[in-house]
């Protein structure tokens, strides 16, 4: 018996040392391959990556290091140096949220370079993960640690049913052929998680904007699937280079089936 318990202690000690070593390395190379790979602990991310070849770089995920308001944390994803590859699909995960999935984006051929921004909910400090699938079947994973602190002030939760489902978009006045332009979209919606009690102590059931789509003359530019980890008043800023002039059509769908549509003109100069 003494030998047995000794064996356990020594394995334990080795594990502890290994963990300490890993965290030291992590400090030495922040953001490096050794420090990260949190995604390997998240089933949804592992499944998304599958057996695909993983590229080292090309995807930049940006979030604030410290977020005082976990209900609305700005998130930016940008791709660069992909050498002709295009990102077709992008998945965002917040592993420690009640629902780790945050959003899934699919991009049409007019999005040659991903540059998007949205706002997400983080229930606690964690490492946010972005998994991008390229047009040639490769995968890029980006991670970013965010510390979420308690909110310094009691923010008034403003929810006005009258302005719900009010959508607005901003597109460039004119586009230059081949150049990218920036599109801002937002819809007023409380994105009820179904997890939190309201002021009267009741917990309303989940009701969120489930999907968003922007298409140019019927061809999808950005298709998004949203989950309850996306912030209230879903906001999406993205860039694309229209291959043709015509009607840019935006559509949001609530999980009840309610839809809102907005159409803008794209004219090429």
């Amino acid at each position: 018996m003494p030998t047995y318990s000794h064996a356990i202690t020594s394995t334990r000690r080795r594990q502890l040392l290994a963990a300490a070593g890993a965290s030291l390395l992590g400090c030495a190379f922040p953001g490096g391959a050794i420090a990260s790979a949190i995604w390997r602990q998240l089933d949804a991310a592992v499944q998304s990556v599958g057996q695909s070849e993983i590229l080292d770089s090309g995807l930049q995920l940006t979030l604030p290091l410290v977020a005082e308001d976990g209900s609305s944390v700005p998130l930016t994803v940008s791709s660069n140096g992909l050498q002709g590859r295009r990102i077709e699909r992008l998945e965002i995960f917040a592993p420690n949220n009640p629902t780790p999935e945050v959003a899934i984006f699919e991009f049409g051929p007019d999005v040659s370079r991903v540059e998007l921004m949205t706002r997400i909910r983080l229930s606690e400090s964690q490492t946010v993960i972005a998994v991008a699938h390229t047009s040639d079947g490769k995968v890029i994973v980006a991670e970013r640690a965010v510390r979420v602190t308690v909110s310094g002030c009691i923010a008034p939760a403003k929810s006005d049913p009258a302005s719900e489902m009010k959508a607005r978009v901003r597109v460039p006045q004119s586009w230059t052929t081949g150049d990218t332009g920036e599109v801002l979209t937002m819809i007023s919606h409380p994105m009820i998680t179904g997890l939190a009690a309201d002021a009267s102590g009741n917990t309303p059931s989940e009701r969120i904007i489930r999907s968003f789509q922007a298409s140019l003359e019927g061809e999808p530019v950005v298709k998004a699937q949203y989950f309850r980890s996306l912030s209230a008043n879903p906001y999406l800023k993205f860039q694309f280079a229209p291959s043709k002039a015509g009607e840019l059509h935006f559509e949001w769908t609530e999980d009840t089936g309610r839809k809102v549509e907005v159409t803008e003109k794209v004219s090429l100069a």
């Binding site: 604030p64 410290v66 906001y235 800023k237």
Partner: protein
């Protein structure tokens, strides 16, 4: 230039002017109160009253014209703790007495080479963050949750009464500000108009701050928080930004704080009044450290300082700001009675 950058530049400009005015006139609620309570004479409290009148009337005018929406500001929060606002106000006021001036005054003095203020500011900023999000935050939340109330009225309803109160309070403050000096010694009297002019400008800066964040910063997609001059959390923000700039964006308050120090520094150099000053004794240093820490923690609990609640908060006519502001003055009175009266 994006609306965010524009608001930051305006914030920096507001800070520069605040710093210069503070350096030139010595604008300070604490000094005003001490002058009044000690019957020493002087115009600091009257300058503060004029700043408040200007801020109140100007801010209410902006809101009445529909240019800014105060309802999303911190001061219009529908719920607050009936315990923490008074306690925070008392702590802040008491700390202000110990440190001989509020956070904004310490920023101005730092610009003139006063290293005592540097210590006060470090303690203030760190204590504020300890209370807001750090080790004291769980205690703050534990005290706040059972004492949080949701009053039916958080401010006067829009209408004739609100307009009347704004105008009457503004008028009363202006009359007080312009009252003829009686106790003031002859030597102090030339300062009257410059002190009052300083108060007027600082009141206008509060209005400009509301305009910057509430109108210039009111983007459909990325609206900025509607705020104006306040100094507790922003001093903590500056310290945090210094350490985490790669993972944090600039905010209006940070630009203002930096501007105040630079504005005061520039004017004190121009007027050849820049001079390094430090503590004379360890006991004095201890007192300033305590004062800074109490101002930081108290200001975080009271959701603002003598400027943040005393001018900016009151300019919204928020009832919670009135509670905080009254207790800030009571705290300052306590410090005066205990420590300053016989000094």
């Amino acid at each position: 230039m994006s609306h965010i950058e524009l608001v930051l530049w305006v914030g920096l400009a507001i800070g520069l002017v605040f710093g210069a005015v503070g350096q030139a006139t010595g604008f300070c609620l604490q000094r005003g109160l001490v002058q009044r309570w000690g019957r020493k004479g002087g115009f600091k409290l009257q300058a503060f009253a004029l700043a408040l009148a200007t801020a109140l009337i100007g801010t209410q005018a902006l809101a009445a014209l529909g240019l800014i929406d105060l309802s999303s500001s911190l001061y219009m929060a529908p719920r607050y703790s009936w315990l923490l606002l008074p306690v925070g106000g008392l702590l802040f006021g008491y700390g202000m007495g110990l440190a001989n001036g509020c956070g904004a005054r310490a920023l101005v003095l730092l610009g003139t080479g006063n290293l005592r203020s540097f210590v006060v500011l470090l303690c203030l900023g760190i204590a504020a963050y300890m209370t807001l999000t750090g080790v004291i935050a769980p205690l703050r939340i534990a005290l706040s949750d059972p004492t949080t109330i949701e009053p039916a009225l958080i401010t006067l309803p829009v209408g004739a009464l609100r307009t009347a109160v704004t105008l009457l309070a503004g008028l009363a403050l202006i009359l007080y500000a312009l009252r003829r000096p009686t106790e003031t010694p002859e030597a102090e009297r030339p300062r009257r108009w410059s002190d009052l002019a300083g108060g007027l400008v600082i009141g206008l800066l509060v209005v400009l701050g509301w305009f910057a964040t509430g109108w210039l910063g009111n983007d459909d997609f990325e609206p900025l928080p509607v705020i104006s001059l306040t100094f507790v959390a922003p001093i903590g923000d500056v310290i945090q930004y210094a350490m985490l700039a790669t993972g944090m964006s600039l905010r209006f308050g940070i630009a203002v704080v930096v501007g105040v120090v630079l504005g005061s520094l520039a004017l004190s150099l121009l007027r050849r009044q820049y001079q390094l000053r430090s503590f004379q004794a360890p006991q004095q240093m201890l007192r300033y450290i305590a004062g800074g820490a109490l101002m930081g923690a108290g200001g975080a609990l009271a959701m603002g300082c003598s400027i943040g609640q005393g001018l900016t908060g009151l300019s919204t006519l928020s009832f919670s700001s009135m509670i905080s502001a009254i207790f800030i003055v009571l705290g300052a009175r306590l410090a005066w009675t205990l420590h300053l009266r016989n000094a």
